[in-house]
Symmetry: C2
Subunit: 262 residues, 2 copies
């Protein structure tokens, strides 16, 4: 089954330049205006596209490496393996995401990156970010801000794992996946292809696949969601957001501290 997730429809961006040569510029452009020079600098990060098959390992935990990646197409996940085969999925990655941040602080990767669908990524060395820091401080600062948003997503998930019921965690995951799919494809509203096995949902939410199944069924019985053919519909979004303890932070984003373009 597992339908291919689709991503199209770049959103209109800043008035300064058309960033569509760079997926990452598209992302940044949602929050800040970019000059032509800045877009070109970002485009240089994506000069060497690489195709990944579903299941391909982009980066393995403990591998040495100094590369980061821009994800242009498809979905990846990052995870760690603990002692006895148990896996914690840390995050799902969607087009426009920058992956492999850990290379900025560590010689070896703490986590594994795997493609969940066909995907296209553009690797670049961390030294390119060094250049960016010097030549485009505004871009670099914006990148730091984006990084804070990712950090906040991690933080929200941490709070969810620590203090939310199994049902709430599954609900939160469904909402998050829907939101992130919608970012890439604004045609998506309340129905979307989940693209995850129940085992993957479990590894992301800290549950067993069996229990994930029961929670999905419960949410369905309660008429909060509907399922068919691997597609999920958020039937009662308000109630779902409530059980998930969901907080939409998109309206509080504020990057007005950035330095001017140089």
């Amino acid at each position: 089954m597992r339908e291919t997730l689709s991503f199209a429809l770049r959103r209109p961006v800043g008035k300064f330049a058309d960033p569509s040569d760079s997926c990452f510029a598209d992302r940044l452009g949602r929050f800040v205006d970019l000059t032509t020079a800045e877009c070109e600098a970002l485009a240089r990060l994506e000069e060497r596209p690489r195709q990944l098959r579903r299941g391909a390992v982009l980066l393995r935990a403990n591998d040495k490496g100094t590369e980061l990646f821009v994800l242009r197409r498809g979905v990846l996940m990052s995870f760690v393996l603990l002692d006895y085969g148990s896996r914690q999925i840390l995050r799902f990655h969607f087009p426009g995401d920058m992956l492999g941040w850990t290379a900025l602080a560590y010689r070896t990767s703490p986590e594994t990156l795997v493609a969940l669908t066909e995907a296209e990524v553009c690797p670049f060395d961390r030294s390119a970010l060094s250049t960016l820091a010097v030549e485009h401080p505004r871009l670099f600062a914006a990148t730091l801000a984006l990084n804070q948003m990712e950090r906040q997503a991690l933080t929200d998930r941490l709070a969810g794992l620590g203090r939310t019921s199994a049902r709430g965690r599954v609900a939160a995951l469904l909402i998050e996946i829907r939101d992130r799919l919608r970012q890439a494809n604004s045609a998506i509203t309340d129905t979307f292809p989940l693209g995850l096995t129940q085992e993957e949902i479990g590894d992301a939410t800290g549950l067993t696949s069996v229990h994930v199944n029961r929670m999905l069924r419960q949410l369905e019985d309660e008429m909060l969601i509907a399922r068919e053919n691997g597609r999920v519909t958020l039937v009662d979004e308000t109630a779902l957001a409530h059980v998930a303890n969901y907080i939409d932070r998109s309206h509080t984003i504020d990057l007005n501290w950035l330095p001017p373009s140089r």
Copy 2:
């Protein structure tokens, strides 16, 4: 009981300059050499020290604000409150930490910052980081790298919450607190004042205080730790690290991508 945590003994840092006017420069100086100009720039972030009493709220969730803070003395925690009074402690903060990163992306704070001990913090506006990005790209990039280390700590905790037993989570917390106390005070080896109530441990590990108590007792019965007067001793560090699934990343840190000092 709750002994005051003590922090002294600045470690020797880079050969370029003595950063001791700035707690944050001390921290950065462990990883990179700093020029005199850079140290001065960092010192400017700490020009307005502010004292906090134990229990004082430095920043409340949903408050508007554009300030970050350097913690110079004492211990703080950041947490979120969920629906019905339940609290998830996100992180404990020690001297040299920079707090309030979320101000770089959000208008309102997603989390609350509270002093666990007497403390001294230096607030500065996020616009100061903007200046830093332009005038000291190397410093700014190093700051981003530090941020990745914090992110990794969050990630490790996320994996712990999702896939580790209650006993393992408590063990992991004890090791982490010890490590971070030792960073600030190298006199600490295996015995240290915990400085946390069992309820706080529970809110950090996603457990109830009752269960934390049982886990501490169990670790004590197993001779992995010892307790007296609020002081904890890590008796069998190897075994403790094993149950905690602990990974020491300090030896894989690598910041060699940073641009040169300008």
